[in-house]
């Protein structure tokens, strides 16, 4: 089966979406657990319980992030180049925060010292809470457009500042992202723990789930009524060799709602965010925790999908020189590379999901303080 170039470009938009959603669901729940760690675990033993709910899994989950990065490099090299260099300090903050996770998980319980352990607990908190916040802020900026342009050699120049990223709308999207990930982590924790920790986790889930719904709605209202959106104003040939400079683009308030008007079925995507979040809230309150986790995962599909559908075909609009905007049509790799990578992803993503599921199945069940005591020397 050989796809034509336009179809492949759309497939890769979907695949990048799949990897980002996979990242948010898998690495998201252990980041949420890290965020909640200092609050739902009061004693050292309780904190070890919390950490060990994700102990065997965080490392594999983190590869969703690394693979999403690699896939963006391979499929959307211009986006990889422009976004990561443009958001330089934001990316570095993510990296520095992530440094604290592998060492935090692995080193924390290797030494019997209260200060040592609580330092790493806060390290895990930073490693869990900072990346989702920054990714949200980055998406908030993508939705508004980012100041960058290309020269005639396709070298990119970012003309904004780090502080410019921290505008009110972007921060609101940061709250959406943080609430979503923390909610998801809380639901996971309520599934894997019992007693006090589970009670606290359920409370956290109710708080952050509600916050997610409020913040997501507020961002939606802001987009509907604010000065958002870009549109391609020249004819575009989806089959053309990718060159972002061959089109014209204009800022067009309301353009981020155009896809929903043109294809009403896409309204199901934001609807899924609401249904998933509300369902997860109800289920976690009823202590149907596994189903609640499925529902909060669906909410994540809905939230990230909403950002994608609103902006399609844009990936990274330029606010300073709109003609330099990167879209699904003109920021991609060659047809050959997209084809090869499509097959690789098609074969390996299901395999990854299979052995990850097996790993969770082997380690299934509640993590308890008794388990920590029995495995004093080997548990995290």
């Amino acid at each position: 089966m050989i796809f034509d170039y336009p179809t492949l470009k759309v497939i890769w938009w979907l695949l990048i979406g799949v990897l980002l959603v996979g990242f948010a669901i898998m690495d998201g729940h252990d980041m949420g657990v890290g965020t909640l760690l200092p609050f739902v675990g009061k004693t050292d033993e309780e904190r070890r319980v919390v950490i060990n709910t994700v102990g065997p899994h965080w490392d594999g989950n983190q590869v969703w992030f690394i693979t999403a990065g690699g896939a963006i490099f391979a499929a959307w090299p211009m986006v990889y180049a422009t976004a990561f260099s443009g958001f330089y300090w934001a990316m570095l903050a993510v990296l520095y925060a992530l440094f604290l996770r592998p060492v935090g998980f692995d080193y924390r319980s290797k030494i019997h010292n209260a200060t040592w352990r609580s330092t790493w607990d806060w390290g895990l908190f930073i490693g869990g809470s900072v990346p989702p916040l920054i990714f949200g802020v980055a998406f908030g900026n993508l939705l508004q457009g980012v100041p960058f342009h290309f020269d005639e050699n396709m070298m990119s120049y970012y003309t904004g500042s780090f502080w410019g990223l921290l505008n009110p709308f972007a921060l609101l999207v940061g709250v959406v992202s943080s609430a979503m990930i923390t909610f998801h982590g809380a639901v996971y924790l309520s599934h894997r723990t019992e007693g006090d920790i589970q009670r606290r986790s359920i409370r956290a889930a109710l708080i952050f789930g509600s916050l997610l719904i409020v913040a997501f709605s507020a961002a939606g209202v802001w987009i509907a009524n604010g000065n958002f959106g870009y549109a391609i104003t020249s004819a575009i040939d989806p089959a053309a060799q990718p060159n972002p400079l061959l089109k014209t683009v204009a800022a067009q308030p309301g353009a981020w709602l155009a896809n929903y008007a043109a294809m009403p079925a896409t309204k199901l995507v934001p609807a899924l965010a609401y249904v998933g979040a509300l369902l997860a809230l109800a289920l976690v309150a009823m202590r149907r925790t596994l189903l609640a986790f499925v529902a909060s995962s669906l909410a994540i599909v809905g939230v990230i999908g909403t950002a994608g559908v609103s902006m399609f075909p844009f990936v990274m609009p330029s606010s300073s020189v709109p003609g330099s905007s990167l879209t699904v049509w003109d920021s991609v790799s060659s047809q050959g590379t997209l084809t090869i990578m499509f097959w690789v992803a098609l074969i390996f993503v299901p395999i990854i999901i299979a052995y990850t599921s097996w790993c969770y199945k082997v380690m299934a069940g509640k993590v308890t303080t008794a388990y920590i005591r029995e495995n004093e020397h080997s548990a995290y």
């Binding site: 065997p56 899994h57 490392d59 594999g60 590869v63 992030f65 690394i66 693979t67 990065g69 690699g70 896939a71 490099f73 391979a74 499929a75 090299p77 211009m78 990889y80 180049a81 976004a83 990561f84 260099s85 330089y88 300090w89 990316m91 570095l92 990296l95 520095y96 992530l98 440094f99 996770r101 592998p102 060492v103 692995d106 080193y107 290797k110 019997h112 005639e152 050699n153 396709m154 070298m155 990119s156 970012y158 060799q241 990718p242 060159n243 790799s333 050959g336 590379t337 090869i340 990578m341 690789v344 390996f348 990854i352 052995y355 990850t356 790993c359 082997v362 380690m363 004093e376 080997s378």
Partner: protein
């Protein structure tokens, strides 16, 4: 034009973070197989000491692995953050193996490592061994994909420049995969990793034996490390990278530079055992030759010539001149893509486009180019010889020293009298830093020897960077240094603590220094 300071700082940051990352990678690559051997012994013999060995060395493996993961994340994202033009220019080819590495290898390794540590009571013995074996296979597959990406930087085949998209595009995936440079680099690199793992286990076991503690545990570990290490050291030398140096021009330049071969000699060339290179006059002030040897190891023949640096320089100067033509034609073609005549003319010279781009370091327009600048650009293609010459020699000397050590350790293991040879145990302990120094030197030679290119002959390093400010680079570099230094101190502290405590840290009740319950 991009400031040289920006380029230098970007290079420094990449070099620092990559070399730091490679402090942890080789130990992972090697130790994981030692764990496989130990655990296989446990499954086959049922002797619990082998299980304890797997778990104790696994603990040290885990401490190392954590920092390997930490520093690896930086590598995946640094191309985008600091090498944006590079990422745009070659992402179509270079991005693919990186993404495949994640999907095919790193996912498997990272998912299973959780079961390796936490699955002992939940998996059958055979299942757990399978997990360990798959983890080992995956970690080595990881290295394969990364070295395919790196091999393409050294020998960029299977690809072509596209004037429409202003970048290199993949034309033949299989050629990129089967790149001979990548294959020989892979074998060499993982074997070096195996040596690192073996020296690590050998040295720490020797320390226990010198102190006369946990003797049975240490003896068995020593034997496994000696046998595994001897095989690995043979492989690292016999399948040495040298075979890959005959392939492609980047490798030829590097070979001539690290051997301080200024002139092309009649085949088979002699080998400079020691030399004092004179970079300015492009000759050696002093050298001790061994006839024939260079030709034999460099070409595996007696009649093939190895080009010297002065000839390479002459050849490259011509390519710079053609390259300038290519840059000019490309500019015309970009303005008028329908112009068939220009396209045909460009296609004829585009193989040298990268050499023309070398002048972007000095001028913005090719009309400003002078013959002096052409000389300068051509001279830039010859890397500095002295650091390569000595870097290579340090690596090789350490390689042979390790082979000797493993050989003696294996001999003593077979005879069973290594407890009496205290000098051997001391030598093993003393050699602990050797594999790391050798690995770092190897990477230094490979990457510094590729300069002034990021992709040999295609993209100059100078053009590859992100258009960041120098202040940003100072800031991020400081951040990396501070974080990495703290993390290294913590890691070393834990490594030393658990090595000292020994298998007692497992709390099984069978060893010295039992862990106390807090």
């Amino acid at each position: 034009m991009l400031s040289e300071q920006l380029v230098d700082l970007s290079r420094l940051q990449f070099a620092a973070t990559a070399m730091y990352h490679f402090l942890f990678v080789p130990l992972t690559l090697g130790m994981v197989w030692i764990l496989v051997i130990m655990e296989s012994a446990w499954v086959m013999t049922g002797k619990v000491i082998y299980k304890d060995m797997t778990r104790f060395w696994g603990k040290l493996f885990g401490i190392n692995f954590a920092l390997g993961v930490t520093t690896g994340i930086t590598m995946e994202f640094q191309f985008g953050t600091n090498w944006a033009y590079y990422s745009h220019y070659v992402g179509d080819i270079f991005g693919a193996p990186l993404a495949i590495e994640g999907l095919m290898a790193f996912f498997l390794e990272s998912t299973l490592i959780g079961l390796f540590f936490f699955g002992w009571d939940r998996l059958s013995r055979q299942q757990h061994l399978l997990v360990t074996v798959l983890m080992a296979v995956a970690s080595n597959l990881s290295a394969l994909w990364i070295l395919i990406a790196n091999g393409w930087m050294q020998n960029p085949i299977g690809s072509e420049f596209s004037y429409e998209t202003m970048r290199m595009e993949m034309t033949d995936f299989a050629t990129v995969l089967l790149n001979p440079v990548a294959q020989s680099k892979f074998v060499h690199t993982v074997s070096a990793g195996y040596c690192t793992g073996a020296i690590f286990v050998l040295a720490i076991s020797s320390w226990y034996l010198l102190r006369g503690r946990d003797v049975e545990f240490a003896k068995r570990s020593f034997r496994i490390a000696a046998a595994f290490g001897f095989a690995s050291a043979c492989s690292v030398i016999v399948l040495g990278d040298e075979s890959g140096y005959a392939v492609g021009e980047a490798q030829q330049t590097k070979l001539a530079a690290m051997e301080a071969m200024w002139e092309t000699e009649p085949a088979p060339a002699s080998f400079n055992l020691v030399a004092v290179p004179n970079e300015a006059e492009m000759k050696n002030d002093y050298a001790i030759h061994i006839p024939w040897v260079m030709g034999l190891i460099g070409t595996r023949s007696v009649d093939e010539q190895i080009p010297g640096l002065n000839d390479i320089l002459k050849r490259n100067r011509e390519r710079v001149v053609t390259g300038i033509e290519a840059v000019k034609l490309l500019e015309t073609l970009r303005k008028n893509p329908q112009d068939e005549v220009t396209r045909a003319a460009f296609d004829a010279v585009k193989g040298d486009l990268g050499f023309g781009l070398l002048l972007r370091k000095y001028v913005t327009s090719m009309d400003e180019v002078t013959p002096e600048l052409i000389d300068k650009a051509a001279r830039d293609t010859i890397p500095r010889v002295t650091p390569l010459f000595w870097g290579f020699r340090i690596m090789v000397a350490l390689g042979f020293a390790m082979l000797l050590l493993f050989g003696m350790a294996l001999y003593a293991s077979v005879k069973g009298d290594f407890m009496q040879r205290r000098w051997l145990l001391r030598a093993a302990l003393l050699m602990l830093p050797a594999p790391w120094i050798a690995c770092e030197m190897g990477w230094f030679v490979a990457e510094y020897g590729r300069q002034p290119w990021t992709i040999y002959g295609v993209l100059p390093t100078h053009m590859s960077v992100s258009t960041l400010t120098v202040e940003s680079l100072y800031g991020s570099l400081t951040g990396f240094v501070v974080f990495y230094t703290i993390l290294l101190c913590v890691e070393m502290y834990l490594m030393v603590k658990f090595s000292r405590q020994g298998p007692g840290s497992l709390g099984t009740g069978r060893y010295m220094n039992e862990a106390h319950h807090a």
